[in-house]
């Protein structure tokens, strides 16, 4: 297992360099740099703009800037944001926390709902329940999450039951520990429902088709023929084998949710990474964009690795040797 880990981590390094270089070059190829934001401000003279370009090193060639940035990364420094003049980690840190909390809570909700429902409709294939839930899931898949977010916000405003956006109350800082948890949770309910429900639909359909496929496999028929009780067949033989694609998906999901929630974050005014990144790209704040890209890349690679390791634990057909030879 250690050999496997070492190999995977070594492969990550060129991957990270490749991905970040492409992003860095793309950011430099679009016309204009950060200083151009200020060019139409009559109070700022062209000399001042030139000084700022020199201060930020924007007048230097692309390769030199990239190598400098990489050198900083090697020393665990993400660089200084151009728009905010503070270390990028200071900007990304709190937002990643918000996004991760939201991502995890909605992922848990999705799994808690999708897995059992998927099993039930698969077991009761073609029953009324299956048809009804399938209809609902298609409905869920066709409604975009941001639209659900609008409905949720409207509902919050109309009913007064939930806070209208934000991740915490303005007086959060003056609360004791338990009130803070409660306040956070209170603000999490609607976004979690919106993001979670949007995911339930597709995950449930996937669960259903996986189980249906495996339910009729030879080894399941053998298990039944052995006289095992139906529940043992279902949980021991069908379910464990059906889980394989889901574990892989969860690994990707970690990185996916970081960016995928951006629209919902925008509508519900949740302070996540999505909006920060969008604004940074619009303003050509290269260190901030690169910091976010690096964060996303690392999460994707690590999530993938964790998923592979979880597969070994869950799927009896997979072990570290087969993973390595893949």
């Amino acid at each position: 297992m250690l050999r496997f880990l070492a190999r995977r981590i070594l492969i990550m390094i060129p991957l990270i360099i490749g991905i970040t270089f492409i992003s860095f070059a793309a950011m430099s190829l679009i016309p204009g740099n950060f200083v151009a934001n200020l060019a139409l401000d009559p109070r700022i003279s062209p000399q001042v703009l030139k000084q700022m370009e020199a201060e930020f090193g924007l007048d230097q060639p692309l390769m030199l800037r990239y190598v400098r940035w990489l050198w900083g990364i090697a020393h665990l420094r993400l660089g200084v944001s151009l728009a905010y003049r503070v270390d990028v980690i200071h900007l990304i840190g709190p937002r990643v926390l918000n996004t991760v909390i939201l991502a995890l809570s909605s992922m848990i909700l999705t799994w808690l709902l999708a897995a059992p429902i998927g099993i039930i409709v698969a077991v009761r294939q073609n029953s009324m329940l299956d048809r009804a839930l399938s209809f609902l899931s298609f409905l869920g898949m066709s409604v975009p999450a941001f639209f659900l977010a609008f409905l949720a916000i409207d509902f919050a405003l109309w009913s007064g039951w939930f806070p209208v956006g934000q991740t915490m109350s303005p007086d959060y800082a003056s609360m004791d520990f338990w009130s803070r948890i409660a306040d956070r949770a209170d603000h999490l309910i609607l976004p979690t429902l919106v993001l979670g429900l949007a995911g339930v639909a597709s995950l449930m359909r996937l669960m259903r088709s996986q189980i249906l496929e495996i339910k009729n496999a030879d080894y399941v028929r053998t298990a039944r023929a052995k006289g095992l009780p139906e529940s043992t067949v279902l949980y021991k033989h069908v379910l464990r084998n059906a889980l394989n694609p889901f574990v892989t998906m969860a690994g990707y999901g970690l990185a996916d949710l970081l960016g995928g929630a951006a629209l919902v974050e925008s509508v519900m005014n949740l302070q996540g990474l999505g909006l920060l990144l969008l604004n940074a790209v619009m303003k050509r704040d290269v260190p901030l964009v690169m910091g976010s890209v690096l964060m996303g890349t690392v999460l994707l690679l690590v999530g993938n690795l964790l998923a592979d390791m979880a597969l070994v634990a869950v799927d009896p057909r997979v072990n570290f040797t087969t993973l390595e030879t893949q």
């Binding site: 679009i30 016309p31 204009g32 151009a36 934001n37 200020l38 060019a39 139409l40 401000d41 009559p42 109070r43 700022i44 003279s45 062209p46 001042v48 703009l49 000084q51 700022m52 201060e55 905010y84 003049r85 503070v86 200071h90 709190p94 937002r95 918000n98 059992p116 099993i119 039930i120 077991v123 009761r124 029953s127 919050a156 405003l157 007064g160 039951w161 939930f162 806070p163 209208v164 956006g165 934000q166 915490m168 109350s169 303005p170 007086d171 959060y172 409660a182 949770a185 209170d186 309910i189 139906e230 529940s231 949980y235 925008s266 509508v267 005014n269 909006l275 920060l276 619009m282 050509r284």
Partner: protein
Amino acid sequence: MAEANPRLRVMRLAICAMAAAAVVAACGCRVNRPRNDHAATQTLYDAMVSDPGTFNPVLVTDSASAVATGDMFESLTRVNPRTTLFEPGLAESWEFSDGDKTLTFHLRHDVKWSDGAPFTARDVLFTMRVIYDPKIPNSMVSSMTIDGKPIAASAPDDYTVVVRLPRPFAPILSSMQFAILPAHALAGAYEAGRFNRIWGIDTPPDRLIGLGAFLMTRYVPAQLIAYRRNPDYWMRDEHGGPLPRLKGEVHLIVPDQNAQYLQFQSGMTDVYHPRPEEVWPLEQAAKRLNIVVRKVGIDTGSLFFAFNRNPRHYVRGGVVDPRLKWFTDVNFMRALAHAVDKQGMIDLCYRGLAVPAISDVSPENKIYHNPNLKDYDYNLKEAAQILDRAGYRMIRPGVRGDPQGHPLVFRLTTNTGVPVRDQMCAIFKQDLQKLGITVNYRPLDFITLVKALDSSFDWDCVLIGFTGTIEPNDASDFLRSSGNLHIWDPAQPKPATPWEAQIDHLMDEGTMVVDPYQRAPYYWRIQQILHDQLPIIETVRSVTYVAYRNTLENYYPTVWGLYRPEWIEFRAR
């Protein structure tokens, strides 16, 4: 079909229990939801669109940072937003002498920094030194540079600042409106060359030394900035009572305008600046929401179609592009001015909440706005006649050509993401189509547009807006032929046309007269010239509104800012 299975039944029960728990939790939250009572705590909540970039007032280049630092720092003079005239700030009085070449400020003796140190002339001189430092890029230095030279200032004693000018310079009072920094707190860092990183947004708020009406207590990135009132603030009310009356302020950071609108309706914020389409619904709901909706005034900026007159773009290898001839032909431009359907734009894009713009200076700039200009009325028939008379005739059905027979086709652009501008461009394009002029419309993202305007010059017509200020010389970079924002042909070595030379001359003359009322005619004349020569065609100005809680008292918004904000308070219940 699977037969009834006890484990499945258990699972179904579990799902039901979870759903029930969620419902109970949601209801429980409703009961316990703490209502933050802004009136009881005398704390005003409003929203701002983005995080500040810095808390260092000299380094501010964005509006969010200006808002964040605005209440913590002050300048020598301030502007009364109702009269647009200067009023005492940290300087109690000032006088011009020596033929308007010397300006003496007498500073208040009773002002203290939040760490207890007194405010003195040393702070003013230190701030000026910082602003003139070439290693510290800032937005103040250009307005404080007269004919390429810095302003010399000295302090004969702790409470007097003497400013010596190379020549009379009327905008000096406006130039001296920079936020004063505490020399005792920042001089060390400045000498060490660390000024550009000082007071960034990662600074603990209690380390920011201010002297304004409010002091920052908390900044939570992407969430809010909170302030408490400055107990030692120098200003007193008419009975000698302490000011400001509010005990605190909170700016929530809400990037999305729709979210701001909802948060105002839900009572999270007390003040909201509605978009045109939101004004009527808010007025209808005023009673239910306990709010007041009030007209603030006419936008101070200017939104116009500019036409490229830059030979550096249109003359290639000795060949002159016909578009340059059209855009510099005043008859062509007059015809186009008659084709701008301002009323249509007002009704369609602004729901009627806008007024036609005639001059590049807003009527809210009461002294410097020229009220005597006569607008080009929307009249396509007249536009067609002007074009016919000037030799721009129809060459095919629906296609008009210039006297040499080139069909009239040009590109129109604006920045993406502003729906109103899209609609205005569409209206303009349609009307020009009726005249036989083809317009190819393609909006560009802001930075790409800026690059086209200031370096590649590859554009024909653009719909663009500038913000307005009271001091007319602030538009110098736009009006002067040598200016970089002289958008139709920037940074000319010498004026390309006689009327541009005349504007340059009037801009020089206008800065020599200190009295605003005697100064105004110079700028009225410039507005007249632009109106006659039409390098730009003005469109419309929105009428802005504000909505606020009806428990707020002394809340007097104007387009130039709040009138006497120190007096604002919540009515006691």
